[in-house]
Point group: C2
C-alpha cells in the first residue's frame, strides 16, 4: 500500500498553491499512491510567522471551496487525501484543521490541531483555538489512519491516543523550519524532530509519515525532509531538504501487527497507573 | 555535575559481582562522578532468561545485605548510588526494584519496575510482581532524579510521569541484548532502543541515562552501549558494545530548564484531553 507525502514550497497566491497541490496529488496517484498527504496549510504561505489580523481572511469553512475541489479529485483518483486547512467555523472560531477525504470522495471527518505553538515565527496561538475534537482515527478504504499536525509531533500523548483510537499510520502535515543562516542549531533541531516521531512509531507500533513544507518564506526556511518511519522506527523514506518532492513509500500494513506481536508493549501498559498524565 | 553509568559483565557469583560493582563505583567517584548508576540486577547473571524456581533464592530484602554495603560506600564517596536489586518483601512478593542511596548514605527510597516483560529470554513475569509504587522522583544532593528499569524504556508514559514527578535525569538500569549470531535484526533492535529513549529526553526536556549490561551469558549477549542523551535528545556519551566500561558524562542541569523554555512543550500539553491514556 503506497502512501505519498507532498512536500512543496508555497507562494502568495492560494489559488496557485491549490493548483500545484492538485497537480502533485495527481502525479502521486499516477505513481500508485493510495493515501496522499499534503503539508500543513498548503494553500498559503505559512502566515503564522507574523501576527496579522488580515490573515484571518485566508480561512475557509469545512466543507468549503477546498474540500469541494479535493473530494471529486479523491473519487476520480480512487485515493485518500489528507489536507490541512485553515478552518473558520460558523461561530467565527478559527482552527488549524486537517480533513480526511476517502477514496470515494466522501469527507470522512476532520481533526483540529490540539497542541498550538507560540514560538518566534510560529505565532499560532494568535490565530487558532486549540482543537476540540480530541484524538481520532479514520477508517479509510486502504488503512485506518490518524492525523496529527506539526506541533503535535512533540507530544507522545498525541501519538499514543491516536494509535489507541485505532490508527495504523500517523500522518503529520507539518510546516517546520528555521531562520535562514542558523547552521549551528540546525542539526539538533531537525534531529530531534525526526527522532521524537520515530519514538512514537516504536512505542506504538505504527507507521509515522510527516509531510513538511519546503523552501524560503521571508526570513524563514522550511526544512523539508518529509519522511516515513516504519512501526519499529526505521526511516524507510526521506525527502531532500531543499526542493519540492513527492515522497512515495510502500507501507506493509501487516508490519503493524507483526511488530506489535514481537514487541509486546501494548500488552504491558500500566493503565492503572497513568492517571497523572492528565496533570501538570 | 558528572554522572557515571557502570556497564559490566556479571559472573555466577553474586559476591564477586558485588565486589566488582563496588570497585567500579569507587573508580567512578575518583573520576568525579556524583551520581553513579549500576545496570539492572548487577549482582547476578540475568537469571530471567530461564524460568527456574531456584532463582528466587537470589532475592534479598530492602534494606538488606546489598543496601547495607552500598550505604556506607555512598557516604564515604559523597556520591549518590542507584542500584537495581531483586527484592523480596516480607510477604514473599518479588519485585525488580531499584534503590536510590543519597550522598550521605541514606536510603532515599525505591522504585519497583512497573512494566514487566515476558519475551523469549526475558521471562520476568515469572519472577516479578508489577511495581506498586508508581512513578517517582528522588531529590538527591546533586539532582532530582527518576529511576525506571529496562522494559520501562519503551513506554513514553513512564518517562513522562517520572518527569512530571520532578525528575531532571531519568536513569534506566538495563539488561538488554540479543541471541548470539543474530546480526540482521541487531541494528534495528539497538537503534529502536536508543531512539525511543532519546524521544523521551526530547519530549520531556530531561537527561536520559541508560546503564546496560554487557557480555555473553549462555545463548545471550547483552549489548552494552550504555548512553546518556541530553534534554534535546543528543547522545552526549555512549559506551562500547563489548566490554566493561565506566561511562562518565558531565551533565549541565541548567540545560534542563533552558531546553524547556526554548521548546515549550510542557506549556501546551492538553491535560484536558489525555484521559484516554488510562485505557487500552
Amino acid at each position: 500500500m503506497k502512501i505519498a507525502l507532498i512536500q512543496m514550497s508555497c507562494g502568495e497566491n492560494p489559488g496557485a498553491n491549490l493548483k500545484k497541490a492538485v497537480s502533485q496529488i495527481k502525479k502521486a496517484a499516477q505513481r500508485g499512491a493510495k493515501v496522499i498527504c499534503l503539508e500543513e496549510l498548503f494553500r498559503t504561505p505559512y502566515f503564522c510567522k507574523t501576527k496579522n489580523e488580515k490573515n484571518f481572511d485566508l480561512a475557509e469553512t469545512i466543507p468549503g471551496p477546498t474540500t469541494e475541489m479535493l473530494e471529486p479529485l479523491a473519487k476520480d483518483l480512487k485515493a485518500v487525501i489528507v489536507a490541512s486547512l485553515f478552518e473558520k467555523t460558523k461561530k467565527s472560531v478559527y482552527h488549524n484543521t486537517a480533513v480526511v477525504i476517502d477514496a470515494d470522495g466522501k469527507l470522512l471527518g476532520k481533526y483540529r490541531k490540539m497542541h498550538i505553538p507560540d514560538d518566534p515565527g510560529f505565532y499560532e496561538k494568535f490565530y487558532f483555538a486549540p482543537g476540540d475534537l480530541g484524538f481520532k482515527s479514520f477508517k479509510t478504504r486502504y488503512a485506518r489512519i490518524g492525523v496529527l499536525i506539526c506541533w503535535d509531533q512533540w507530544f507522545p500523548e498525541a501519538a499514543r491516543l491516536t494509535m489507541l483510537a485505532g490508527a495504523e499510520i500517523l500522518f503529520y502535515p507539518t510546516a517546520i523550519g528555521w531562520k535562514k543562516n542558523r547552521p549551528a542549531q540546525a542539526r539538533s533541531y531537525h534531529g530531534a524532530w525526526e527522532t521524537v516521531q520515530r519514538g512514537h512509531a516504536i512505542a506504538s507500533g505504527v507507521y509515522v509519515a510527516a509531510a513538511n513544507r519546503v523552501g524560503a518564506e521571508g526570513k524563514f526556511e522550511y526544512w523539508g525532509r518529509s519522511f516515513v518511519a516504519d512501526p519499529f522506527g526505521e526511516v524507510v523514506g526521506r525527502a531532500g531538504g531543499k526542493q519540492d518532492e513527492i515522497l512515495i513509500v510502500d507501507c506493509d500494513l501487516r508490519k503493524v501487527e507483526k511488530t506489535r506481536r514481537e514487541w509486546t508493549f501494548l500488552r504491558d501498559r500500566r493503565i492503572d497507573a497513568y492517571q497523572g498524565i492528565t496533570s501538570r
